[in-house]
């Protein structure tokens, strides 16, 4: 079982609120990722990090921001949530030297009213 945790699992908030989705892993992985997934649809990479103080934008443009101050922690922040941000957000990690196998958290399902 993967040691990667996401909180909250479910969040319902109003438009304009600032939210932070937390993601932590205890495996010492250098690489961490955020994917966005609408129900029954594909995953879109929105942010990734290959180490502390390193962050990159993914293939899908996102208004969210991320930070990587500690190896184990990769939070995602939305400064002003909108209904278009309603989605599931999946955090994942992998070891730098491995072949790319990802370990996923259970996801955070965000609903913006």
């Amino acid at each position: 079982e993967a040691d990667i945790y996401q909180t909250p699992r479910y969040l319902v908030i109003g438009t304009g609120k600032k939210i932070t989705l937390e993601c932590s892993q205890t495996m010492g992985h250098d690489k961490m990722y955020w994917y966005q997934q609408d129900p029954g649809m594909e995953l879109h990479l929105i942010h990734y990090s290959y180490g502390v103080n390193s962050t990159e934008k993914g293939d899908l443009s996102s208004e969210s921001t991320v930070s990587r101050i500690r190896t184990e922690h990769f939070p995602l922040t939305l400064e002003s949530a909108r209904p278009s941000h309603t989605s599931q957000y999946l955090c994942a990690s992998s070891a730098y030297q491995n072949t790319g196998e990802l370990f996923f958290g259970e996801g955070s399902r965000l609903t913006v009213l």
Binding site: E42, L90, A92, G100, E101, L102, F103, E106, G107
Partner: protein, 112 residues
Amino acid sequence: SQQGEEDPQALSIQEGENATMNCSYKTSINNLQWYRQNSGRGLVHLILIRSNEREKHSGRLRVTLDTSKKSSSLLITASRAADTASYFCALTRNSGNTPLVFGKGTRLSVIA
């Protein structure tokens, strides 16, 4: 497209039957992986096959890779109701240290 494309999009079978899902891609790859996702949950890694391998087995799973046709297949034998999930292929490209790119997935329903 740099992602894999799974086929079929949805598959419904009876318990005990075999399920076959396919993934086609267009880029050169380092390896190809298959993941499973239960409804509303995160993805779980199933199996990885490297570009120099043709077939791998893991329990009831069999994965094949044909790099000349740029395609892979995932076979689940003797399916169970608990196999009901979405299955995704994901590519690690040859171009270097780049993140995995996922396809749209195949939704498998196994009817008891």
